[in-house]
Amino acid sequence: MRILLVEDDAEVARFVKKGLQEAGHTVEHVTNGRDGLFLAASEPFDLLVLDRMLPGGVDGVRLVETLRGQGNRTPVLFLSALSAVDERVKGLKAGGDDYLVKPFAFAELLARVEALGRRPSVDAPVTKLRVADLELDLLARTVTRAGKKIDVQPREFRLLEHLMRHAGQVVTRTMLLEKVWDYHFDPQTNVIDVHVSRLRQKLDRGFDKPLIHTVRNAGYMIRAEP
């Protein structure tokens, strides 16, 4: 992916740029909102990673508002030291697609970058998601593995759906909390792991190939190959 990083802190920028490049992305980095806006408006990017507060008169929110006003729909991930709920809402209202509070683990940032960059297109609605022999029917709300029906509760269904929509990508615990449960705070608990392991048990019972994998220091991933 071609990513534009607008971040004024040199240390954070270096760390993020290096990490994203190692993950196989191309990264352009500028240090202020004005340059960021100019680049974002004049060159095609797959994703913008913006600091919420930027020097030079154009902050992250202004930048996104301006871009959206010009009809530019490039996905935007905000990085911010402002954690209050209102700030998050402000960022998303302005047209941001995701909001990550500093300090963050790089694995969390990478997972969100990949999720945003490879969002499914809206014009081709999917009715079935498939990973190996696991099938999830979005219309019938059923889950089958190798043709065998698996009973899941509504929340487990949504959890599995989210994992399968991002099959092959890391999904972090916070992302699950936000996207599946709509909790935008840290419950300071490992309950999310219990939910995933319960779902994993249901899916893998009677099969020898596990589908949901734990990615150390990051989160979970569903994929066919171990």
């Binding site: 954690s83 709920v85 929340r155 705070f185 419950p187 300071q188 309950v191 219990v194 939910h195 220091n217």
Partner: protein, 476 residues
């Protein structure tokens, strides 16, 4: 980016004796002037009414008397002729004790037949009514009001000498001027009193505000006990000051907590990283030390997040975001989220709440508070225990959310301290947690103007279990 610092002011700190504002800026003076104007206007209206009632009515009476006199004399002439008329005039002159009545009767040639005027006044035509003219009455020039009549060739003049009435009017005018002057003086005195009273009533508030500005936040504006507008203002000021003081204490609490409890994990992380750097014998050990250090830093970040969240709730700014929501649904959500954790520990987590309980509040913060309570319950209740999450409407407009468990409960001494930041009962030292969970619950309760109570779930039983009762108003 920071705004440039304001220029240093050379003004000395205000003293404790509030100086009176310059006269023209004084609100007290403006009120006083307003009072004077209103008072003076009232006096003028009063005097004008009095004037019309006295001076003008004297005039009217005079005219009525003249007319009646003239009519009566004309009647006498009609019934008794000239001699009767002359008799009547002479009789009237004789009996007029005030010596104000004027009569003159002449024949066609102007020869005087009767009366107390020497000659027909100049410029007076027959048929004039209520004419004002100068006459010579008993050798003295005077003003008079007269009526004249033509009675079959005889010319009759009836009038009244106005000299005394002019005198009376003069006296009246003098009185009015004096009383207006007096009332102006009284108004000015009243104005001065009003201004002084205003200054006196404002003075305590002003002094208090100055003391607070000088740093003494414990000061409050004394009330006069009269319950008037100034007391209301003082009460409002005091309520505002209480709030500011609570906020300041909150901030102080947070900084104390940060100083005390964030240093520990930071120090831990630092020593792990340093020890790793100094003593690791291979890459594996170095990597392990770094991972532990990062885990400690993550914990710091989590504590920080929790503290900010508590501060957010305590500051009360989120009251603006209050909205109605379905409490039962929210509790179901929390119970569902935690039921798997309870099941993993063989515990039974049940929800007792009738569907559709609604309230107004911050759903997100309340959800987090309830989840903190459930987290504690799941953590501290032994395997196989029971946890009951319940919501009960209480009387007028209140709802009670309770979490009861079958765990060891809390000693009464610890109950009071639970909810203080970072307090952890001795028994729980070895369970993971920051000690901030109940602080948040307490802050959220306070934000909703509700309360948090801890009790034994089953008093007398062993273990007694813990009951956490969150009492919340349903409408904000």
């Amino acid at each position: 980016m920071t705004a440039p610092a304001p220029p240093a002011r050379n003004r000395p700190l205000p003293g404790l004796r509030p100086a009176l504002p310059r006269l023209l800026q004084s609100a007290g003076l403006r009120f006083a002037v307003l009072f004077t104007l209103v008072f003076a206007l009232g006096t003028v209206v009063l005097v004008a009414v009095l004037w019309i009632a006295t001076a003008a009515s004297i005039d009217r009476q005079l005219l009525a008397a003249i007319r009646a006199d003239a009519v009566a004399l004309a009647e006498r002439w009609r019934t008794g002729g000239e001699s009767a008329l002359i008799d009547a005039i002479e009789e009237r002159i004789a009996t007029d004790s005030t010596n104000q009545a004027l009569y003159l009767l002449t024949d066609r040639q102007g020869v005087k037949l009767a009366g107390n005027l020497g000659a027909w006044p100049e410029g007076v035509e027959i048929g004039a009514s209520f004419q004002r003219t100068s006459i010579v009455h008993e050798g003295v020039a005077a003003d008079a009001r007269i009526i004249t009549r033509d009675l079959g060739g005889l010319r009759l003049l009836v009038g009244r000498d106005e000299a005394e009435r002019v005198q009376l009017r003069l006296l009246l005018t003098e009185g009015v001027v004096w009383s207006l002057g007096a009332s102006l003086v009284i108004a000015l005195m009243g104005a001065a009193l009003i201004r002084q009273a205003l200054v006196n009533r404002l003075d305590p508030a002003l002094r208090t505000a100055m003391q607070i500005a000088a740093g003494d936040l414990a000061r409050r504006v004394p009330l006069s006990g009269r319950g008037d507008e100034f007391d209301r203002l003082a009460e409002t000021m005091n309520a505002m000051l209480d709030r500011i003081e609570a906020l300041m204490q909150g901030i102080k609490g947070v900084s104390d907590a940060i100083a005390h409890d964030l240093r520990t994990p930071i120090a831990r992380a630092r020593s792990k990283l340093e020890a790793g750097l100094a003593h690791a014998r291979d890459e594996g050990e170095l990597r392990a030390a770094m991972e532990e250090g990062i885990a400690d830093l993550d914990q710091v970040s989590r504590i920080f997040q929790a503290l900010l969240r508590i501060a957010e709730a305590e500051a009360g700014a989120r009251r603006a975001a209050f909205a109605p929501f379905d409490l039962t649904e929210m509790l179901q959500d929390a119970a569902e989220f935690y039921s798997v954790a309870a099941e993993a520990r063989d515990q039974q987590l049940t929800l007792e709440a009738r569907p559709g309980l609604r309230m107004v509040g911050d759903r997100d913060l309340l959800l987090q508070a309830v989840m903190n309570l459930l987290d504690n319950a799941v953590k501290f209740t032994p395997e196989g225990g029971r946890i009951v999450l319940a919501a009960q409407p209480q009387g007028e407009g209140w709802v009670e959310v309770t979490v009861a468990d079958s765990g060891p409960g809390l000693a009464p001494a610890d109950r009071a301290r639970a909810g203080e930041r970072f307090f952890r009962a001795d028994a729980s030292r070895n369970t993971p947690g920051s000690g901030l969970g109940l602080s948040l619950v307490r802050a959220v309760a306070a934000l909703h103007r509700g309360s948090l109570e801890l009790a034994d779930a089953k008093p007398g039983a062993d273990p007694p279990g813990l009951l956490v009762r969150l009492r919340l108003p349903r409408a904000s």
